[in-house]
C-alpha cells in the first residue's frame, strides 16, 4: 500500500507539562471522561522529549517551573519541525497581561490561569482540539485529489522536490513512474463519462494496492498518474509497474465487459545520484511514457538516468 492521505480519526493524546504532582492528579481525575489519552511530564525537558516521541494532539503547559521554564519550552517547541504544528495551551498561575502576551507571541493558542475552573478548562481543551482537527483537514484536503483520494498535483510537486533533494544529498536510489490510461478518450466517448471516472478510480485503487508503503501515488491530471518510488532502482521500479499493469489488465468491467482497460507506463530512475533537475527528471519519465505508447501501449519503458549519464560522459 502506498502512503495515502491520512483520514482516520483517532483519540487525541493530551500532554500535560507541569512540575506540580497535584496538577497532574487533578487533571487526570477531571479529564477522565473526556475523549482523551493523558500523558504526564514533570519538567520542561521531559515535556519536549515526550512531545517529540508521542506527537500529542494538544499540550497543556505550565510556565513557572524550576529549570527549563514554560516560555523556554514554547520557544523550543516552535523552533522544532517535529513539534511546531502541535497546539499548546498555557496553564499558569501567572496572570499578568505581559505573561499572556508573551505566551501568545511565542505561539500558544490559549491561556488558562490557575486556579482553573474545571468546566472552562474542558471546553477550552475541546475547542482547541476541534480547531486543530479542522486545520489539519484543510491542509490535507488541499493535497488530495477529490475523485481518487490520491495526492494531487500540488502534493506531487512538494513530495517530488523533497525526494529529488534527498537523492541529490545522499545519492539514494530514486525512481519516478508516469502512467497514462490507454485510449481513455475513446472509452469516455463510447461508454460515457461515468465509465471514464470509474476507470480512473479503479486504476487509482490498483496503483495504491500494488505499490509499496513508502511509494507516493498522485493523480497528475486527467488520466495521468505518477508514482514516486524512493529507495528504488529503475529495475525494481519496473517490476512494481509491471505488477500494476498486469493487475489492471486482469480486471473485468461490469459496465463494459467486452473491453479491458490498460495503461502505458514510463519510468525514469537511478540507483545513484542523478545530475538532473527535478523538472527534467519528470520530462524523462514522460519521454519513456511516450516510448511505451509508441511501442504499442499496455507496456512499461524504462530510462536509467545513471546509464544515460555514463553514455553522455563517454560521448563528451
Amino acid at each position: 500500500m502506498t502512503a495515502t492521505p491520512e483520514t482516520s480519526e483517532q483519540r487525541p493524546t493530551l500532554l500535560v507539562v507541569d512540575d506540580s504532582a497535584d496538577v497532574h492528579r487533578l487533571l487526570h481525575a477531571r479529564l477522565r471522561r473526556e475523549e482523551l489519552d493523558l500523558i504526564s511530564a514533570h519538567t520542561g525537558e521531559e515535556g519536549l522529549s515526550k512531545a517529540r516521541e508521542n506527537q500529542p494532539g494538544l499540550v497543556l503547559l505550565d510556565l513557572d517551573m524550576p529549570g527549563m521554564d514554560g516560555f523556554e519550552v514554547l520557544r523550543e517547541f516552535k523552533d522544532d519541525q517535529e513539534t511546531v504544528h502541535i497546539p499548546v495551551i498555557v496553564l499558569s498561575a501567572l496572570s499578568q497581561s505581559i505573561d499572556k502576551v508573551t505566551a501568545f507571541d511565542l505561539g500558544a493558542v490559549d491561556y488558562i490561569t490557575k486556579p482553573f475552573d474545571v468546566t472552562e478548562l474542558r471546553v477550552r481543551i475541546r475547542s482547541a482540539l476541534k480547531v486543530h482537527r479542522l486545520l489539519r483537514m484543510l491542509a490535507e484536503k488541499a493535497h488530495i485529489d477529490g475523485l481518487t483520494g490520491l495526492f494531487n498535483r500540488q502534493a506531487f510537486d512538494e513530495s517530488w522536490a523533497k525526494a529529488t533533494s534527498a537523492n541529490a544529498r545522499h545519492a539514494t536510489p530514486l525512481s519516478l513512474a508516469m502512467f497514462d490510461l490507454d485510449h481513455f478518450k475513446s472509452l469516455n466517448d463510447t461508454f460515457g463519462h461515468p465509465a471514464g471516472d470509474d476507470a480512473i478510480r479503479v486504476f487509482a485503487r490498483t496503483l495504491s494496492r500494488e505499490s509499496r508503503e513508502a511509494d507516493i501515488a498522485c493523480r497528475y491530471g486527467g488520466e495521468e498518474f505518477v508514482l514516486i518510488m524512493p529507495e528504488t532502482a529503475p529495475e525494481d521500479a519496473n517490476s512494481v509497474c509491471e505488477r500494476v499493469g498486469a493487475q489492471l489488465r486482469s480486471l473485468s468491467w461490469p459496465s463494459h465487459p467486452e473491453r479491458s482497460v490498460t495503461v502505458s507506463i514510463g519510468v525514469a530512475g537511478t540507483a545513484q545520484q542523478a545530475a538532473i533537475r527535478p523538472a527534467d527528471w519528470v520530462a524523462a519519465a514522460d519521454r519513456a511514457l511516450y516510448a511505451a505508447k509508441a511501442g504499442g501501449r499496455d507496456r512499461t519503458e524504462v530510462i536509467d538516468l545513471a546509464a544515460r549519464q555514463i553514455r553522455m560522459a563517454k560521448a563528451g
Binding site: 497535584d22 496538577v23 492528579r25 487533578l26 471522561r33
Partner: protein, 108 residues
C-alpha cells in the same frame, strides 16, 4: 458548618463527585506530611521554604475543593515573602491558622 467553628470538619466542595473522591482522599492523607514540612521550615527560620510550600498548597487546595486551605495558604505565603523580621509573628499566626484548617479536613 462553617470555618469559624473549630470543632467542625471541613468537607470538600467535590465530596459528592465520584471522579474526585479518590484523589481527595489522597490529598487529605498527604496533609500531615505537608504540614510537618511547613512546620520544620518555620522552626529553622527558612521563610523561603515556608513561602514555597505554602504556594504549592495555595495552588492545589481549591482544586480538591478546599478553598479555605488555598486562602489560608495564600495569606501564609504573603507573610513569609515579606522580608521584615517582625513579621515572624505574623507568619506564626498564619501558619497556625492553616494548620488548624488542615487538621479539620475530611473526605466524608
Amino acid at each position: 458548618m462553617t470555618a469559624s467553628e473549630p470543632n467542625n470538619l471541613i468537607l470538600s466542595d467535590f465530596a459528592d463527585d465520584p471522579d474526585m473522591v479518590e484523589i481527595i482522599e489522597e490529598f487529605v492523607g498527604e496533609i500531615p506530611e505537608r504540614i510537618a514540612a511547613l512546620q520544620a521550615a518555620f522552626d529553622s527560620d527558612d521563610t523561603h521554604a515556608v513561602a514555597s510550600l505554602a504556594h504549592q498548597l495555595k495552588g492545589s487546595g481549591g482544586g480538591y475543593g478546599f478553598n479555605q486551605v488555598s486562602e489560608a495558604a495564600g495569606r501564609l505565603e504573603n507573610a513569609a515573602r515579606s522580608p521584615s523580621q517582625h513579621d515572624l509573628e505574623t507568619i506564626r499566626v498564619e501558619l497556625n491558622r492553616l494548620v488548624s484548617f488542615c487538621s479539620r479536613l475530611a473526605v466524608r
